[in-house]
Symmetry: C2
Subunit: 232 residues, 2 copies
Protein backbone atom coordinates (compact mmCIF):
# COMPACT_ATOMS: atom_id res chain seq x y z
CA UNK A 1 0.00 0.00 0.00
CA UNK A 2 2.95 2.31 -0.46
CA UNK A 3 2.39 5.46 -2.39
CA UNK A 4 4.72 7.54 -4.47
CA UNK A 5 4.49 10.79 -2.45
CA UNK A 6 4.04 12.73 -5.69
CA UNK A 7 6.51 15.55 -6.15
CA UNK A 8 6.59 16.34 -9.85
CA UNK A 9 8.27 19.70 -9.88
CA UNK A 10 10.96 21.01 -7.58
CA UNK A 11 9.15 24.31 -7.08
CA UNK A 12 5.56 23.55 -6.25
CA UNK A 13 3.20 25.40 -3.97
CA UNK A 14 1.56 23.50 -1.17
CA UNK A 15 -1.72 23.73 -3.04
CA UNK A 16 -0.18 22.04 -6.06
CA UNK A 17 1.43 19.33 -3.95
CA UNK A 18 -1.95 18.59 -2.39
CA UNK A 19 -3.63 18.55 -5.79
CA UNK A 20 -1.04 16.11 -7.12
CA UNK A 21 -1.45 13.84 -4.13
CA UNK A 22 -5.24 14.04 -4.26
CA UNK A 23 -5.19 13.19 -7.95
CA UNK A 24 -3.26 10.02 -7.21
CA UNK A 25 -5.30 8.91 -4.19
CA UNK A 26 -8.68 9.72 -5.72
CA UNK A 27 -7.63 7.84 -8.87
CA UNK A 28 -6.61 4.82 -6.80
CA UNK A 29 -9.60 4.67 -4.48
CA UNK A 30 -12.40 6.80 -5.87
CA UNK A 31 -14.09 9.61 -3.97
CA UNK A 32 -15.51 7.56 -1.12
CA UNK A 33 -12.55 5.22 -0.85
CA UNK A 34 -10.03 8.02 -0.53
CA UNK A 35 -9.52 9.76 2.80
CA UNK A 36 -8.20 13.23 3.45
CA UNK A 37 -5.65 11.68 5.80
CA UNK A 38 -4.27 9.45 3.03
CA UNK A 39 -4.08 12.43 0.71
CA UNK A 40 -2.24 14.50 3.30
CA UNK A 41 0.18 11.67 3.94
CA UNK A 42 0.81 11.24 0.22
CA UNK A 43 1.43 14.99 -0.05
CA UNK A 44 3.61 14.95 3.06
CA UNK A 45 1.49 17.82 4.28
CA UNK A 46 -0.69 18.43 7.31
CA UNK A 47 -4.23 17.15 7.03
CA UNK A 48 -5.70 20.47 8.14
CA UNK A 49 -4.18 22.22 5.13
CA UNK A 50 -6.60 20.46 2.82
CA UNK A 51 -9.48 22.30 4.43
CA UNK A 52 -7.49 25.52 4.67
CA UNK A 53 -6.88 25.56 0.91
CA UNK A 54 -9.92 23.80 -0.50
CA UNK A 55 -12.61 23.93 2.17
CA UNK A 56 -13.79 20.33 1.94
CA UNK A 57 -12.98 16.93 0.53
CA UNK A 58 -15.73 17.43 -2.02
CA UNK A 59 -14.30 20.74 -3.23
CA UNK A 60 -10.83 19.20 -3.47
CA UNK A 61 -12.22 16.40 -5.60
CA UNK A 62 -13.84 18.82 -8.01
CA UNK A 63 -10.68 20.95 -8.14
CA UNK A 64 -8.62 17.90 -9.05
CA UNK A 65 -11.07 16.89 -11.77
CA UNK A 66 -11.23 20.39 -13.23
CA UNK A 67 -7.49 21.10 -13.15
CA UNK A 68 -6.44 19.19 -16.26
CA UNK A 69 -9.75 19.32 -18.15
CA UNK A 70 -9.19 22.71 -19.76
CA UNK A 71 -5.68 21.82 -20.99
CA UNK A 72 -7.02 18.59 -22.49
CA UNK A 73 -9.83 20.30 -24.32
CA UNK A 74 -7.63 23.19 -25.41
CA UNK A 75 -5.26 20.70 -27.01
CA UNK A 76 -8.21 19.04 -28.73
CA UNK A 77 -9.41 22.37 -30.09
CA UNK A 78 -5.90 23.29 -31.26
CA UNK A 79 -5.54 19.98 -33.09
CA UNK A 80 -8.90 20.51 -34.76
CA UNK A 81 -7.92 24.03 -35.79
CA UNK A 82 -4.63 22.78 -37.21
CA UNK A 83 -6.51 20.26 -39.32
CA UNK A 84 -8.73 22.99 -40.75
CA UNK A 85 -5.76 25.27 -41.39
CA UNK A 86 -3.98 22.50 -43.28
CA UNK A 87 -7.18 21.52 -45.09
CA UNK A 88 -6.57 17.98 -43.81
CA UNK A 89 -9.91 17.29 -42.20
CA UNK A 90 -10.71 13.61 -42.38
CA UNK A 91 -12.74 11.45 -39.99
CA UNK A 92 -9.56 9.67 -38.95
CA UNK A 93 -7.80 12.96 -38.20
CA UNK A 94 -10.77 14.19 -36.16
CA UNK A 95 -10.79 11.01 -34.09
CA UNK A 96 -7.04 11.31 -33.56
CA UNK A 97 -7.52 14.85 -32.28
CA UNK A 98 -10.25 13.59 -29.93
CA UNK A 99 -8.43 10.61 -28.47
CA UNK A 100 -4.75 11.53 -28.42
CA UNK A 101 -4.90 14.19 -25.68
CA UNK A 102 -6.56 11.78 -23.25
CA UNK A 103 -5.12 8.40 -24.25
CA UNK A 104 -1.59 9.80 -24.15
CA UNK A 105 -2.15 10.90 -20.55
CA UNK A 106 -1.69 7.39 -19.28
CA UNK A 107 0.95 6.25 -21.72
CA UNK A 108 3.26 9.21 -22.24
CA UNK A 109 5.39 9.48 -19.07
CA UNK A 110 6.40 13.05 -19.94
CA UNK A 111 2.82 14.23 -19.58
CA UNK A 112 2.53 12.89 -16.06
CA UNK A 113 -1.21 12.48 -16.30
CA UNK A 114 -1.55 8.77 -15.62
CA UNK A 115 -3.39 9.39 -12.37
CA UNK A 116 -5.80 11.81 -14.02
CA UNK A 117 -6.48 9.23 -16.73
CA UNK A 118 -7.71 6.75 -14.15
CA UNK A 119 -9.71 9.45 -12.37
CA UNK A 120 -11.35 10.49 -15.63
CA UNK A 121 -12.43 6.92 -16.33
CA UNK A 122 -13.82 6.68 -12.81
CA UNK A 123 -15.89 9.85 -13.08
CA UNK A 124 -16.98 9.52 -16.70
CA UNK A 125 -18.26 5.97 -16.15
CA UNK A 126 -20.00 6.84 -12.89
CA UNK A 127 -23.77 6.99 -12.82
CA UNK A 128 -24.17 8.95 -9.58
CA UNK A 129 -25.36 12.52 -9.68
CA UNK A 130 -21.99 14.13 -8.99
CA UNK A 131 -20.17 12.13 -11.65
CA UNK A 132 -22.78 12.96 -14.25
CA UNK A 133 -22.72 16.66 -13.42
CA UNK A 134 -18.92 16.92 -13.35
CA UNK A 135 -18.51 15.08 -16.66
CA UNK A 136 -21.11 17.24 -18.34
CA UNK A 137 -19.73 20.52 -17.00
CA UNK A 138 -16.21 19.87 -18.24
CA UNK A 139 -16.65 17.73 -21.33
CA UNK A 140 -20.06 18.25 -22.94
CA UNK A 141 -19.13 21.45 -24.81
CA UNK A 142 -16.14 19.82 -26.50
CA UNK A 143 -18.26 16.74 -27.18
CA UNK A 144 -20.79 18.80 -29.13
CA UNK A 145 -17.97 20.33 -31.13
CA UNK A 146 -16.57 16.95 -32.12
CA UNK A 147 -20.01 15.60 -32.93
CA UNK A 148 -20.52 18.55 -35.29
CA UNK A 149 -17.14 17.88 -36.93
CA UNK A 150 -17.95 14.21 -37.44
CA UNK A 151 -21.35 15.12 -38.85
CA UNK A 152 -19.84 17.58 -41.31
CA UNK A 153 -17.18 15.15 -42.48
CA UNK A 154 -19.10 11.92 -43.01
CA UNK A 155 -21.71 12.11 -45.76
CA UNK A 156 -24.99 10.43 -45.05
CA UNK A 157 -24.52 10.23 -41.28
CA UNK A 158 -27.52 11.17 -39.17
CA UNK A 159 -27.07 13.32 -36.10
CA UNK A 160 -28.16 10.45 -33.89
CA UNK A 161 -25.54 8.18 -35.40
CA UNK A 162 -22.91 10.88 -34.98
CA UNK A 163 -23.72 10.90 -31.27
CA UNK A 164 -23.52 7.10 -31.15
CA UNK A 165 -20.20 7.22 -32.99
CA UNK A 166 -18.84 9.82 -30.59
CA UNK A 167 -19.97 7.84 -27.54
CA UNK A 168 -18.41 4.68 -28.96
CA UNK A 169 -15.16 6.55 -29.57
CA UNK A 170 -15.14 7.79 -25.97
CA UNK A 171 -15.92 4.31 -24.69
CA UNK A 172 -12.94 2.85 -26.54
CA UNK A 173 -10.75 5.75 -25.46
CA UNK A 174 -11.65 5.18 -21.83
CA UNK A 175 -10.88 1.49 -22.06
CA UNK A 176 -7.43 2.51 -23.35
CA UNK A 177 -7.01 4.88 -20.40
CA UNK A 178 -7.98 2.40 -17.68
CA UNK A 179 -5.04 0.18 -16.73
CA UNK A 180 -7.13 -2.81 -15.69
CA UNK A 181 -4.47 -5.22 -16.97
CA UNK A 182 -7.21 -7.16 -18.73
CA UNK A 183 -5.85 -6.73 -22.24
CA UNK A 184 -2.51 -8.10 -21.08
CA UNK A 185 -4.17 -11.03 -19.30
CA UNK A 186 -6.25 -11.98 -22.33
CA UNK A 187 -3.59 -11.51 -24.97
CA UNK A 188 -1.16 -13.97 -23.34
CA UNK A 189 1.83 -12.33 -24.95
CA UNK A 190 0.26 -12.26 -28.42
CA UNK A 191 -0.26 -8.54 -28.13
CA UNK A 192 3.13 -6.89 -28.18
CA UNK A 193 2.90 -3.71 -26.15
CA UNK A 194 2.76 -1.36 -29.07
CA UNK A 195 3.72 2.27 -28.72
CA UNK A 196 1.30 5.13 -28.28
CA UNK A 197 1.02 5.93 -32.00
CA UNK A 198 0.20 2.35 -32.89
CA UNK A 199 -2.41 2.09 -30.16
CA UNK A 200 -4.12 5.32 -31.15
CA UNK A 201 -4.01 4.66 -34.89
CA UNK A 202 -5.46 1.20 -34.32
CA UNK A 203 -8.30 2.63 -32.27
CA UNK A 204 -8.89 5.39 -34.83
CA UNK A 205 -9.05 2.88 -37.65
CA UNK A 206 -11.53 0.74 -35.71
CA UNK A 207 -13.81 3.65 -34.80
CA UNK A 208 -13.71 5.22 -38.25
CA UNK A 209 -14.78 1.95 -39.84
CA UNK A 210 -17.61 1.70 -37.33
CA UNK A 211 -18.85 5.21 -38.08
CA UNK A 212 -18.69 4.61 -41.83
CA UNK A 213 -20.77 1.49 -41.26
CA UNK A 214 -23.42 3.54 -39.47
CA UNK A 215 -23.48 5.97 -42.39
CA UNK A 216 -23.87 3.21 -44.97
CA UNK A 217 -27.38 2.54 -46.32
CA UNK A 218 -29.38 0.71 -43.68
CA UNK A 219 -26.70 1.58 -41.16
CA UNK A 220 -27.89 2.92 -37.86
CA UNK A 221 -31.30 4.47 -38.20
CA UNK A 222 -33.53 1.54 -38.99
CA UNK A 223 -34.86 -0.96 -36.53
CA UNK A 224 -34.91 -4.74 -36.78
CA UNK A 225 -32.59 -6.64 -39.15
CA UNK A 226 -31.16 -8.10 -36.01
CA UNK A 227 -28.59 -10.31 -37.67
CA UNK A 228 -27.23 -8.62 -40.78
CA UNK A 229 -25.05 -10.69 -43.04
CA UNK A 230 -21.28 -10.32 -43.04
CA UNK A 231 -19.75 -7.40 -44.90
CA UNK A 232 -16.11 -8.31 -45.40
Amino acid sequence: MSRSTAQPSARATTQEVILDAAEEVFADSGFHGATTRAIAECAQANAALIHYYFGSKEALFEAVFARRSEAINEERRARLAALHDADAVTLEAILDALLRPTVSLGRDPERGGAHYARLLVHVASGTDERSRRMTGERYNAIARQFIAEILATVPGLSRGDAVRGYMNAIAIGMSLMAPTGRTEDLSEGALSDRDLDAIISGAVRFIAAGIYALAAPGGGGGAADTLPGPTP
Copy 2:
Protein backbone atom coordinates in the same frame (compact mmCIF):
# COMPACT_ATOMS: atom_id res chain seq x y z
CA MET B 1 -32.33 9.86 -1.79
CA SER B 2 -35.27 7.50 -1.58
CA ARG B 3 -34.70 3.92 -2.51
CA SER B 4 -37.00 1.34 -3.96
CA THR B 5 -36.78 -1.25 -1.16
CA ALA B 6 -36.28 -4.00 -3.73
CA GLN B 7 -38.74 -6.85 -3.41
CA PRO B 8 -38.77 -8.62 -6.75
CA SER B 9 -40.48 -11.88 -5.91
CA ALA B 10 -43.17 -12.54 -3.37
CA ARG B 11 -41.34 -15.58 -1.99
CA ALA B 12 -37.77 -14.55 -1.31
CA THR B 13 -35.47 -15.67 1.44
CA THR B 14 -33.88 -13.07 3.65
CA GLN B 15 -30.58 -13.81 1.99
CA GLU B 16 -32.05 -13.01 -1.41
CA VAL B 17 -33.70 -9.84 -0.16
CA ILE B 18 -30.36 -8.68 1.21
CA LEU B 19 -28.61 -9.58 -2.04
CA ASP B 20 -31.18 -7.61 -4.03
CA ALA B 21 -30.81 -4.58 -1.80
CA ALA B 22 -27.02 -4.79 -1.78
CA GLU B 23 -27.02 -4.99 -5.57
CA GLU B 24 -28.95 -1.75 -5.75
CA VAL B 25 -26.98 0.16 -3.13
CA PHE B 26 -23.56 -1.04 -4.33
CA ALA B 27 -24.56 -0.10 -7.88
CA ASP B 28 -25.60 3.36 -6.74
CA SER B 29 -22.67 4.16 -4.50
CA GLY B 30 -19.85 1.72 -5.20
CA PHE B 31 -18.19 -0.46 -2.60
CA HIS B 32 -16.82 2.32 -0.39
CA GLY B 33 -19.78 4.65 -0.83
CA ALA B 34 -22.31 2.03 0.22
CA THR B 35 -22.89 1.27 3.90
CA THR B 36 -24.18 -1.90 5.44
CA ARG B 37 -26.79 0.20 7.24
CA ALA B 38 -28.11 1.61 3.95
CA ILE B 39 -28.27 -1.90 2.51
CA ALA B 40 -30.17 -3.18 5.54
CA GLU B 41 -32.61 -0.28 5.34
CA CYS B 42 -33.17 -0.91 1.61
CA ALA B 43 -33.78 -4.58 2.37
CA GLN B 44 -36.04 -3.69 5.30
CA ALA B 45 -33.93 -6.10 7.30
CA ASN B 46 -31.85 -5.85 10.40
CA ALA B 47 -28.28 -4.67 9.89
CA ALA B 48 -26.84 -7.53 11.90
CA LEU B 49 -28.29 -10.05 9.45
CA ILE B 50 -25.80 -8.99 6.81
CA HIS B 51 -22.96 -10.29 8.95
CA TYR B 52 -24.95 -13.33 10.01
CA TYR B 53 -25.48 -14.43 6.40
CA PHE B 54 -22.42 -13.11 4.63
CA GLY B 55 -19.79 -12.48 7.28
CA SER B 56 -18.59 -9.10 6.06
CA LYS B 57 -19.38 -6.22 3.74
CA GLU B 58 -16.57 -7.40 1.49
CA ALA B 59 -17.99 -10.92 1.21
CA LEU B 60 -21.45 -9.52 0.50
CA PHE B 61 -20.03 -7.41 -2.31
CA GLU B 62 -18.38 -10.40 -3.92
CA ALA B 63 -21.53 -12.50 -3.51
CA VAL B 64 -23.57 -9.82 -5.26
CA PHE B 65 -21.09 -9.59 -8.11
CA ALA B 66 -20.90 -13.36 -8.52
CA ARG B 67 -24.64 -14.05 -8.32
CA ARG B 68 -25.63 -13.07 -11.85
CA SER B 69 -22.31 -13.70 -13.58
CA GLU B 70 -22.85 -17.41 -14.17
CA ALA B 71 -26.32 -16.90 -15.65
CA ILE B 72 -24.98 -14.21 -17.98
CA ASN B 73 -22.13 -16.36 -19.21
CA GLU B 74 -24.33 -19.45 -19.49
CA GLU B 75 -26.66 -17.48 -21.75
CA ARG B 76 -23.68 -16.38 -23.82
CA ARG B 77 -22.47 -19.97 -24.17
CA ALA B 78 -25.95 -21.17 -25.10
CA ARG B 79 -26.28 -18.50 -27.78
CA LEU B 80 -22.90 -19.48 -29.19
CA ALA B 81 -23.88 -23.15 -29.21
CA ALA B 82 -27.14 -22.35 -30.97
CA LEU B 83 -25.22 -20.52 -33.67
CA HIS B 84 -22.99 -23.52 -34.25
CA ASP B 85 -25.95 -25.90 -34.26
CA ALA B 86 -27.70 -23.79 -36.89
CA ASP B 87 -24.47 -23.35 -38.86
CA ALA B 88 -25.08 -19.60 -38.62
CA VAL B 89 -21.77 -18.45 -37.20
CA THR B 90 -20.96 -14.96 -38.41
CA LEU B 91 -18.97 -12.24 -36.68
CA GLU B 92 -22.15 -10.24 -36.23
CA ALA B 93 -23.94 -13.18 -34.62
CA ILE B 94 -21.00 -13.80 -32.27
CA LEU B 95 -21.01 -10.16 -31.17
CA ASP B 96 -24.76 -10.31 -30.64
CA ALA B 97 -24.32 -13.36 -28.40
CA LEU B 98 -21.63 -11.49 -26.47
CA LEU B 99 -23.47 -8.22 -25.93
CA ARG B 100 -27.14 -9.10 -25.67
CA PRO B 101 -27.05 -10.88 -22.29
CA THR B 102 -25.42 -7.87 -20.62
CA VAL B 103 -26.83 -4.92 -22.55
CA SER B 104 -30.36 -6.24 -22.12
CA LEU B 105 -29.87 -6.31 -18.33
CA GLY B 106 -30.35 -2.57 -18.11
CA ARG B 107 -32.93 -2.17 -20.84
CA ASP B 108 -35.25 -5.15 -20.52
CA PRO B 109 -37.43 -4.55 -17.46
CA GLU B 110 -38.42 -8.21 -17.30
CA ARG B 111 -34.87 -9.24 -16.58
CA GLY B 112 -34.61 -6.99 -13.55
CA GLY B 113 -30.86 -6.65 -13.85
CA ALA B 114 -30.53 -2.89 -14.22
CA HIS B 115 -28.73 -2.57 -10.88
CA TYR B 116 -26.31 -5.35 -11.76
CA ALA B 117 -25.58 -3.64 -15.06
CA ARG B 118 -24.40 -0.51 -13.24
CA LEU B 119 -22.42 -2.61 -10.77
CA LEU B 120 -20.73 -4.51 -13.57
CA VAL B 121 -19.65 -1.28 -15.22
CA HIS B 122 -18.32 -0.06 -11.89
CA VAL B 123 -16.24 -3.17 -11.23
CA ALA B 124 -15.09 -3.85 -14.78
CA SER B 125 -13.81 -0.29 -15.22
CA GLY B 126 -12.14 -0.19 -11.82
CA THR B 127 -8.37 -0.32 -11.65
CA ASP B 128 -8.03 -1.30 -7.99
CA GLU B 129 -6.83 -4.76 -7.08
CA ARG B 130 -10.23 -6.11 -6.02
CA SER B 131 -12.00 -4.94 -9.16
CA ARG B 132 -9.34 -6.45 -11.39
CA ARG B 133 -9.43 -9.76 -9.56
CA MET B 134 -13.23 -10.02 -9.49
CA THR B 135 -13.58 -9.18 -13.16
CA GLY B 136 -10.96 -11.72 -14.14
CA GLU B 137 -12.34 -14.49 -11.96
CA ARG B 138 -15.85 -14.23 -13.38
CA TYR B 139 -15.37 -13.05 -16.94
CA ASN B 140 -11.94 -13.99 -18.29
CA ALA B 141 -12.84 -17.58 -19.21
CA ILE B 142 -15.80 -16.49 -21.33
CA ALA B 143 -13.66 -13.73 -22.80
CA ARG B 144 -11.10 -16.22 -24.07
CA GLN B 145 -13.90 -18.26 -25.60
CA PHE B 146 -15.27 -15.30 -27.53
CA ILE B 147 -11.81 -14.22 -28.63
CA ALA B 148 -11.28 -17.70 -30.05
CA GLU B 149 -14.63 -17.53 -31.86
CA ILE B 150 -13.80 -14.15 -33.37
CA LEU B 151 -10.38 -15.41 -34.41
CA ALA B 152 -11.84 -18.46 -36.11
CA THR B 153 -14.49 -16.47 -37.95
CA VAL B 154 -12.56 -13.50 -39.34
CA PRO B 155 -9.91 -14.44 -41.88
CA GLY B 156 -6.62 -12.60 -41.63
CA LEU B 157 -7.16 -11.37 -38.05
CA SER B 158 -4.19 -11.69 -35.71
CA ARG B 159 -4.71 -12.91 -32.17
CA GLY B 160 -3.64 -9.52 -30.82
CA ASP B 161 -6.23 -7.77 -32.96
CA ALA B 162 -8.88 -10.26 -31.85
CA VAL B 163 -8.13 -9.23 -28.26
CA ARG B 164 -8.32 -5.56 -29.22
CA GLY B 165 -11.60 -6.19 -31.00
CA TYR B 166 -13.01 -8.02 -28.00
CA MET B 167 -11.93 -5.27 -25.60
CA ASN B 168 -13.46 -2.63 -27.87
CA ALA B 169 -16.70 -4.60 -27.99
CA ILE B 170 -16.78 -4.79 -24.19
CA ALA B 171 -16.02 -1.08 -23.92
CA ILE B 172 -18.96 -0.21 -26.15
CA GLY B 173 -21.19 -2.69 -24.34
CA MET B 174 -20.33 -1.13 -21.00
CA SER B 175 -21.11 2.34 -22.27
CA LEU B 176 -24.53 0.99 -23.28
CA MET B 177 -24.99 -0.45 -19.79
CA ALA B 178 -24.07 2.69 -17.87
CA PRO B 179 -27.01 5.08 -17.63
CA THR B 180 -24.95 8.25 -17.42
CA GLY B 181 -27.57 10.19 -19.37
CA ARG B 182 -24.80 11.57 -21.55
CA THR B 183 -26.10 10.16 -24.83
CA GLU B 184 -29.46 11.79 -24.15
CA ASP B 185 -27.82 15.12 -23.23
CA LEU B 186 -25.68 15.19 -26.37
CA SER B 187 -28.31 13.99 -28.80
CA GLU B 188 -30.76 16.80 -27.99
CA GLY B 189 -33.71 14.76 -29.11
CA ALA B 190 -32.09 13.73 -32.39
CA LEU B 191 -31.59 10.22 -31.04
CA SER B 192 -34.98 8.64 -30.69
CA ASP B 193 -34.79 6.13 -27.88
CA ARG B 194 -34.60 3.05 -30.00
CA ASP B 195 -35.59 -0.31 -28.69
CA LEU B 196 -33.17 -2.92 -27.43
CA ASP B 197 -32.84 -4.73 -30.76
CA ALA B 198 -31.99 -1.55 -32.62
CA ILE B 199 -29.42 -0.51 -30.02
CA ILE B 200 -27.71 -3.89 -30.05
CA SER B 201 -27.75 -4.31 -33.81
CA GLY B 202 -26.31 -0.81 -34.23
CA ALA B 203 -23.51 -1.60 -31.80
CA VAL B 204 -22.89 -4.97 -33.48
CA ARG B 205 -22.67 -3.34 -36.89
CA PHE B 206 -20.22 -0.74 -35.56
CA ILE B 207 -17.96 -3.28 -33.85
CA ALA B 208 -18.00 -5.76 -36.73
CA ALA B 209 -16.91 -3.05 -39.15
CA GLY B 210 -14.11 -2.10 -36.76
CA ILE B 211 -12.87 -5.68 -36.48
CA TYR B 212 -12.97 -6.16 -40.25
CA ALA B 213 -10.89 -2.99 -40.54
CA LEU B 214 -8.28 -4.46 -38.20
CA ALA B 215 -8.17 -7.60 -40.33
CA ALA B 216 -7.74 -5.66 -43.57
CA PRO B 217 -4.21 -5.37 -44.98
CA GLY B 218 -2.24 -2.86 -42.92
CA GLY B 219 -4.98 -3.01 -40.32
CA GLY B 220 -3.85 -3.37 -36.75
CA GLY B 221 -0.40 -4.90 -36.61
CA GLY B 222 1.77 -2.24 -38.16
CA ALA B 223 3.13 0.83 -36.46
CA ALA B 224 3.14 4.43 -37.66
CA ASP B 225 0.86 5.61 -40.48
CA THR B 226 -0.53 7.97 -37.89
CA LEU B 227 -3.04 9.63 -40.14
CA PRO B 228 -4.36 7.17 -42.68
CA GLY B 229 -6.46 8.50 -45.50
CA PRO B 230 -10.22 8.15 -45.45
CA THR B 231 -11.68 4.82 -46.49
CA PRO B 232 -15.31 5.52 -47.27
